[in-house]
């Protein structure tokens, strides 16, 4: 048996507005300023719904029906918190829970043997009462043999609805479901209505093959639903348990050995905690709380996930080596971020090494020393600006992606470029032919022997916030070296030096 929980007016409930509030509220999906012209109603309070304001209406339509309507933006963060609270409650009834949609959860209860249909009815009532006691509002609970039927039961429940496993009763329920509640595409719905099909039951009586030929995949799903729906796997939500300790020190500390002494027992306890779950430590997070009320945070990845105290201690020591703080330490927070055992071990680099354990230790220490994302294989995005690269961490095993910028690619020809990060501001002097003749760099005027370009580059033009354009020139200086400058036509930067 599966149970579906559905919270009606979920976005409105997430804002914690009172049920009995006289205020008529409608929620908008986007920012209020933009919404005035384009946005539609995302959700309304029960009173506004009764007054005829429906989700999907434009603001003007809604205000025509209810001039006193109060407009609010939906709060996605608050919705996530409410969903998490629902999930915590669902966990009391089953460890196998799917977060199907905002305000909708699906519980796998097949391992529960609660007897006949009446017992399931009682259990569903218990769930609803528990929810009312904890959350302060009521939910709809649907139960059925398959996930899809349970969701449908919750959709049409007036409190609680347990669908019988008897075929006749099930068909009777399904046949009465209006198609407009199942089909979102207005054109498809209109076509079905023109054929005289208004309810799900009418589809069940049609010849399957011809129906699927006409309606395609969506039609097949509808047909299967009309026949009682099929089984599907749930996308289970796994509750993350944090392996975390916060320690307040009895005395202020000033040196690394003192800190390591205090860290050791905490680390040991956390490692044991992770080991109990058959997991490995994949990363370490450390926060130091200072006497001047400041704090400093580090997060180090382990190249090879481990439970070895010695390896983790060495990683922390390498990361804190040479670190100076403005004030003495008053406390710290230590967290181990666990990974599954089979998750990260087959790595491209570790496979090549004769001593992978030693290499993993070295890579972890190097990342602690140089910073996250600064040790590994180079990758870049095809749409990114030239020179914008990232380092693929040793934890991942996919092949690297390297961008190809037309006109600038010298993978097998020409000279490699040495990028200046950050690039250096220069000024170009232009000749009569519209080509650069000299470059002013660090107050030195460098005459050019030759130039090539401009190479016009652009990327992400479909995204206003990230779009970029760049004009590049390859320059040969009289001093005998080659370089690349880039700019927007007015301001210029030395991007790199060839060779």
């Amino acid at each position: 048996m599966f149970a579906a929980w559905r919270v009606s007016h979920f976005a409105w409930r997430a804002l914690r507005l009172e049920d009995g509030s006289a205020q008529l509220v409608a929620l908008l999906g986007g920012p209020l300023q933009q919404a005035r012209s384009h946005a539609t109603v995302h959700e309304v309070c029960p009173q506004a719904l009764r007054a005829g304001v429906l989700p999907g209406m434009s603001m003007a339509e809604a205000q025509m029906r209810l001039p006193k309507l109060h407009w609010l933006n939906r709060d996605e963060a608050a919705e996530a918190v409410l969903q998490q609270r629902l999930f915590a409650l669902a966990d009391e009834f089953s460890p196998l829970v799917e977060s199907t949609a905002p305000g909708v959860l699906l519980l796998d209860l097949r391992a529960r043997h609660w007897g006949d249909e009446r017992s399931w009815q009682e259990r569903a009532q218990q769930m609803r009462q528990r929810m009312t006691a904890v959350m302060g509002f009521e939910i709809e609970v649907g139960m059925a043999e398959t996930p899809v039927l349970a969701l449908l039961a919750a959709r049409f429940a007036q409190g609680v609805l347990v669908l019988s496993s008897q075929r006749e009763q099930l068909q009777a329920f399904l046949h009465e479901i209006p198609l407009q509640l199942l089909i979102g595409d207005a054109m498809v719905l209109e076509r079905l209505h023109s054929w005289g099909l208004l309810r799900l039951g009418q589809i069940a009586s049609l010849p399957r093959q011809q129906w699927v030929r006409r309606m395609g995949q969506q039609g097949m799903a509808l047909y299967e639903l009309a026949q009682g729906g099929g089984m599907r796997l749930l996308e289970l939500v796994v509750q993350q348990q944090r392996h975390f300790r916060r320690v307040e020190l009895p005395l202020a500390l000033e040196t690394l050995p003192q800190l390591m002494q205090h860290l050791q027992p905490v680390l040991q306890a956390l490692v044991q905690q992770v080991a109990l779950l058959w997991l490995l430590a994949g990363a370490v997070r450390l926060v130091l709380h200072l006497a001047n009320k400041g704090c400093r945070t580090w997060c180090w990845n382990l190249a090879e996930p481990t439970l070895s105290l010695r390896v983790i201690e060495r990683l922390i020591e390498a990361g804190l080596q040479g670190v100076r703080t403005d004030a003495a330490l008053l406390g710290f927070e230590l967290e181990l971020l666990p990974v599954a055992r089979s998750d990260r071990q087959q790595d491209w680099l570790l496979q090549q090494s004769a001593a992978p354990a030693g290499l993993a230790r070295v890579l972890s220490a190097l990342e602690a020393l140089l910073g996250n994302g600064r040790v590994g294989r180079a990758t870049s995005d095809e749409c990114a600006r030239p020179g914008e690269v990232s380092v693929q961490n040793f934890m991942l095993s996919q092949a690297p992606r390297v961008s190809v910028h037309a006109g600038l690619r010298h993978g097998d020809e020409g000279l490699p470029l040495q990028r200046l990060r950050p690039r250096e501001r220069v000024e170009l002097q232009w000749g009569r032919q519209g080509t650069p003749v000299a470059m002013l760099r660090r107050r030195r005027l460098l005459k050019l022997r030759d130039c090539a370009g401009p190479w016009e580059l652009s990327g992400l033009w479909w995204d206003d916030r990230q779009a970029w354009r760049l004009q590049c020139w390859d320059l040969c200086l009289e001093e005998g070296w080659l370089c690349q400058v880039g700019g927007d036509g007015e301001q210029w930067w030395l991007e790199g030096i060839y060779g």
Binding site: L359, A365, L369, P400, G411, Q418
Partner: protein
């Protein structure tokens, strides 16, 4: 030709040191591409004279895991040799001192047999601030762990190298950006490579 050989032999008798250098110049390419285990070598070249190409070829021909310690974060993957890139461990540093510490960590275990350190874009005063004892320590670590190290620097600077190579002015032109790398190495860069 006989006259030339006679002159050479006479010169070698009178100036043995000079002729030794000459011999090394002639067979320079072979010596440069060799990997003495646990050796520390320096390639001196200012930015813009083609040392990146030599460095990448040197790394490509190495056996095992190859690491590039990029002291000034100047490596450009887009223009790197396509065969080298997937097997290159790139270590991005912000300063020369940080690169020295990273090299120390890397060489202590000896699990990366081929290491190139690129200091060419670093400021000279930053390089001079590194104590020479650090280099002696690195050389000792390299010889113990058997790591082949090539240090690329903008001026002759390392106090304790086994061999130092100087890449002279190869007189590069823009047309060379369209040429094949193998040809450029043979025709332009290797002739400009000298034992310092």
């Amino acid at each position: 030709m006989k006259v030339l050989e006679q002159l050479r032999s006479e010169l070698s008798e009178r100036f043995p040191q000079a002729t030794q250098v000459q011999w090394r110049r002639e067979s320079g390419d072979k010596v440069f591409w060799a990997w003495p285990k646990g050796g520390l070598r320096e390639l001196v070249a200012a930015p813009g004279f083609g040392a990146s190409l030599l460095l990448q070829r040197w790394l490509k021909l190495g056996q095992g895991i190859k690491a590039l310690l990029d002291a000034a974060d100047g490596f450009d993957p887009d223009s790197c040799d396509a065969e080298l890139l997937p097997e290159l461990l790139w270590l991005r540093c912000n300063a020369a001192a940080q690169a020295m510490r990273a090299a120390d960590v890397l060489m202590r275990e000896g699990c990366v047999p081929v290491l190139a350190m690129d200091f060419r874009l670093c400021e000279p005063r930053e390089l001079r601030a590194i104590p020479s004892s650090s280099w002696h320590r690195l050389r000792l670590l390299a010889s113990r762990s058997g790591v082949s190290v090539l240090v690329c620097s903008p001026f002759a600077w390392l106090p304790c190298v086994e061999s130092r190579w100087q890449l002279g002015d190869a007189a590069l032109a823009l047309s060379e950006l369209q040429q094949g790398r193998a040809g450029m190495l043979e025709q332009k860069l290797m002739p400009a490579l000298r034992v310092a």
